[in-house]
């Protein structure tokens, strides 16, 4: 069946079953491959997108439940928080394999949008659902602090 998705500022017609996870529509239908498949059970966070600006795991979110909500993916996220997070990630060379990093960045943007100056503990709590098998966590923490400083400046 046909569904209209509001994604990255555009309305896109999608022909897929209601129960199709948003992740696969984003990747296979819309070719926005920056959003990743890691586990399919909302356990790793690689598929994190924004739903009305809030982080949402797209691998367990059926397109039938999206409704009027606005989806933003890594390709188009461009709030001041997004720019600060990406700049900090680049400055500190956080990435290794990079596969989880779109999701890490989308979550970090969500964190800083709610909490401009998170502590280490607040970062750990908020980012806990985003797994990184390369274990870049030490730098993720540092980069979130750095992004917070960039935003403050």
């Amino acid at each position: 069946m046909s569904i209209t998705l509001k994604i990255n500022g555009e309305a896109r017609e999608i022909d897929a079953d209601d129960d199709t996870p948003l992740l696969w529509v984003i990747r296979d239908e819309l070719n926005l491959t920056g959003t990743k498949f890691g586990c399919g059970v909302a356990s790793c966070g690689a598929c994190t997108v924004h739903l009305n600006g809030k982080p949402q795991r797209s691998c367990v979110f059926p397109i039938g439940a999206v409704g009027d909500n606005e989806i933003t993916t890594i390709e188009k996220v461009d709030t001041p928080e997004a720019k600060a997070v990406q700049a900090a990630w680049q400055e500190l060379d956080v990435v290794q394999c990079g596969y989880c990093q779109s999701g890490q960045i989308m979550s970090a943007i969500g964190l800083l949008s709610d909490n401009a100056k998170p502590s280490d503990e607040e970062i750990d709590t908020f980012m806990q659902g985003n797994a990184c098998r390369c274990a870049t966590y030490h730098r993720i923490r540092a980069a979130i602090h750095r992004a917070s400083d960039i935003l403050e400046a």
Binding site: T20, D28, D93, V95, C97
Partner: protein
């Protein structure tokens, strides 16, 4: 792979046949890391100076990187070597992954592949020579045009310079490309390095990987492509008898289901990844389990323990003194004995395994993959598709992690994709996608290991006898690299890190193999992933028995007149100094030390833990010292230490693959919980300045992490952990 991997080259051999890259399709990333694909030969305007360097008329230098990028930093590291020798600004250098071609073989392997922490070690001279050769050709071309001596021309900051004449290197690409490469291009003196050793050279892949633009094989979509998932036997060694499509046919997007030609499973084809995943749930199959392994982890452990108690099959140290040494150890006035047990481990890279195989217009196939072992994948795909090797191309993308999993003697997932491609008729491109469940239950695990050690302490307070029996399933036996690694029946990877320890220890080592149809594989740091733990927990136990400080005790077993032992002592002393080690322990906290050499690199770690009111452990901080020879990219080295520490800690804390009646019990990440950010300690890395040949950094940070944690927990709680994971040994983490 235990020998020194820093290859020196016949320079003539390297330059012979160096010419414009031909034929293959290459995938590259521009200087900003964005994707660029070119088909046919190298871009028309770019000139190939040798297999590793191409230069465009705009002066952009493209480095053709022969080692895939799984996060370990090859796209930055090998590029640094060329940029250094050419004196071009970092921003002017782009990266491209090499096609599958003999020219790009790993000099440590003799075939094209990445592993064993060899990428920098085997490329260090080769890529510098490639850059130096290109520099020399450009200089000679400019000298001829300007009618000056070549000695009076230099390249500075990407510009050819002689007196008042300057030009972009791009202006001389065509003329330089026609010159004969020098047989012996002169390399820069280390004192004039500006990029090698530079502390914060930006990673080449950072931009693409922070903007969603980085291309992984999972992101590949080609025309006329179907997606395929595979229904496998839940038992290792089971084969397909028959299957029913059932309700899968009703799934929107379902295309077809076919038996794989080797009856290893059912290929379920669909028009989208989701449809292929969903349809597979409804396919049912009957399996022939006559040859399958139905043992569970408990039976395995019991067999391992029985073998441990029997005489070893192989006398690894070869002196015929296994029994005498054990008796001597037990008879010493102070002695230590312990059994160790290590579980099966999955690699679980973030990107579930996948690849695309498409038919080419020339009647061949093109493989799209984060390809770790083209030397195995290429002939494997050729054999299954019944094509001559020259009809098979491999395009390498960024790989979403590997930790060893993408490389194996069977090229398992490529073989599966090739079979699925053939089974569907070979007309349509197929994209094989594994789910996380496929990955965790897919075998190729770090083998289970068991160790029994007996150590005696002499009157001088040093180890007087050390006997150790290892039981392990061999990784290398029966594979294509067997002859390099297995000697007189002993798979070196089962005993590495013990038999070749730099410590001065009177050792007698035995080995017994465990056999199973379940495939096992190298997992980040291979045998060292368990031998580092055994050795360093045992050294701690021996120090305790001897009544000595753990750092002093280790140093007492290292003769610093010997370079190998001195380098191990060097990192240990550096870590101790940076951590402020004074041998004192504080109530409610614990501090542990471990040091280990692997892949020619020396790493020491001092780990601090604390206990909460319930006795749960928090890992607070790790001070790490590393000696990897010349530190080409210090920040990449730090990143690899941080990452290997995290990967190692997560595994020893709580990871294990278990079997019940032969069936893997772990489904998805919740059953194989990865290290989380809240588990991650602060990591403080110190690099030993060195002019020794560079050695690997991808793996050596891992072996000390587990034992440093175990020793810290012992310091805090008095509990020795000799069976992993720690959570199964009664340890809880905050």
């Amino acid at each position: 792979m235990n020998a020194s991997n820093t290859a020196s080259l016949s320079r003539r051999g390297f330059l012979k046949g160096a010419a414009v890259l031909g034929g293959a399709m290459v995938i590259g990333f521009n200087a900003g890391g964005a994707l660029a694909i070119s088909t046919g030969s190298a871009p028309a305007e770019a000139v190939g100076f040798n297999p590793f360097v191409k230069i465009g008329p705009d002066g952009t230098v493209t480095v053709v990187v022969k080692h895939f990028e799984m996060g370990q930093g090859t796209s930055t590291g090998l590029t640094t070597l060329v940029a250094e020798e050419m004196n071009v600004p970092w921003e002017q250098v782009a990266v491209e992954f090499s096609p599958s071609d003999e020219k790009y073989k790993n000099l440590a392997f003799g075939g094209q592949g990445t592993g064993g922490s060899t990428a920098m070690a085997n490329s260090y001279l080769q890529y510098r020579q490639a850059g130096a050769a290109a520099r020399d050709m450009l200089i000679r071309a400019a000298a001829a045009e300007w009618k000056v001596e070549a000695a009076d021309v230099t390249i500075e900051n990407g510009q050819l310079v002689s007196g008042d004449k300057t030009a972009s290197i791009g202006a001389f690409v065509e003329q330089a490309g026609m010159l004969e490469p020098a047989a012996e291009p002169v390399l820069k003196d280390a004192a004039s390095f500006t990029l090698i050793g530079k502390d914060k050279l930006p990673r080449k892949d950072s931009m693409a990987k922070t903007t969603g633009k980085a291309m992984f094989a999972m992101d590949v979509k080609v025309p006329n492509m179907v997606y395929v998932t595979i229904l496998r036997s839940p038992l290792f060694g089971g084969t397909l008898k028959s299957f029913e499509v059932g309700a899968a046919a009703e799934v929107n997007g379902f295309v077809d289901a076919r038996a794989l030609p080797d009856n290893s499973g059912v290929a379920v084809y669909a028009e989208s990844t989701w449809a292929a995943i969903k349809a597979r749930r409804s396919v049912t199959a009957d399996w022939d389990n006559a040859a399958a392994d139905t043992r569970g982890s408990a039976e395995m452990l019991s067999e391992y323990t029985d073998k441990l108690s029997a005489a070893p099959t192989y006398d690894v140290t070869g002196k015929g003194d296994l029994t005498e040494m054990e008796e001597a150890a037990k008879a010493a006035s102070r002695s230590v004995s312990a059994d160790f047990h290590f579980p099966l481990l999955a690699h679980a890279p973030m990107e579930p395994l996948n690849c695309v195989i498409e038919p080419t217009e020339e009647g061949g196939v093109r493989v799209h993959d984060g390809c770790q072992f083209p030397m195995i994948t290429h002939p494997t795909v050729a054999a299954i598709t019944q094509l001559p090797p020259e009809k098979v191309e491999i395009i390498t993308y960024y790989a979403g992690g590997s930790f060893g999993r993408r490389a194996n003697a069977q090229s398992d997932y490529h073989a599966q994709a090739a079979m699925a491609f053939v089974a569907l008729g070979g007309e349509k491109a197929v994209k094989l996608v594994w789910t996380r469940e496929d990955d965790l239950a897919g075998g190729f695990y770090r083998p289970m290991f068991a160790q029994r050690a007996n150590i005696g302490i002499g009157d001088d307070g040093k180890v007087s006898a050390w006997s150790q029996h290892t039981v392990a399933q061999s990784i290398f036996k029966g594979g294509p690299m067997e002859s390099f690694v297995v000697h007189d029946g002993v798979d070196h990877s089962s005993v590495e890190g013990v038999v070749d320890t730099p410590y001065q220890l009177p050792m007698a080592l035995g080995l017994t193999d465990y056999e199973s149809p379940m495939p096992v594989l190298w997992w980040r740091s291979v045998g060292h992933s368990q031998s580092g733990y055994t050795m360093e927990v045992l050294m701690d136990m021996a120090a305790e028995a001897a009544g000595q400080d753990p750092v002093d005790f280790r140093l007492a077993h290292l003769d610093e007149e010997d370079e190998n032992q001195a380098r191990l002592a060097g990192v240990l002393k550096l870590a101790a100094e940076k951590a402020g080690w004074d041998g004192k322990q504080v109530d409610g906290k614990g501090r542990g030390v471990a040091v280990h050499k692997s892949f020619d690199t020396y790493v020491a770690q001092i780990m601090d833990v604390s206990l909460d009111a319930d006795g749960a452990i928090s890992i607070d901080k790790v001070v790490c010292a590393v000696d990897c020879g010349v530190a080409v990219n210090p920040d990449v080295i730090r990143a690899q230490m941080e990452g290997a520490i995290g990967y190692g800690l997560g595994a020893v804390m709580r990871n294990e693959i278990t079997l019940k009646d032969g069936i893997v019990e772990q489904g998805n990440f919740p059953d194989y919980e990865p290290l989380r950010i809240s588990d991650m300690p602060v990591v403080d890395v110190h690099i030993v300045p060195s002019d020794k040949a560079p050695s690997g950094v991808g793996e050596p940070g891992l072996p000390p992490a587990g034992p440093a944690l175990a020793n810290a927990i012992h310091a805090a709680t008095g509990k020795r952990i000799t069976s992993l994971p720690m959570t199964s040994a009664g340890i809880s983490f905050a």
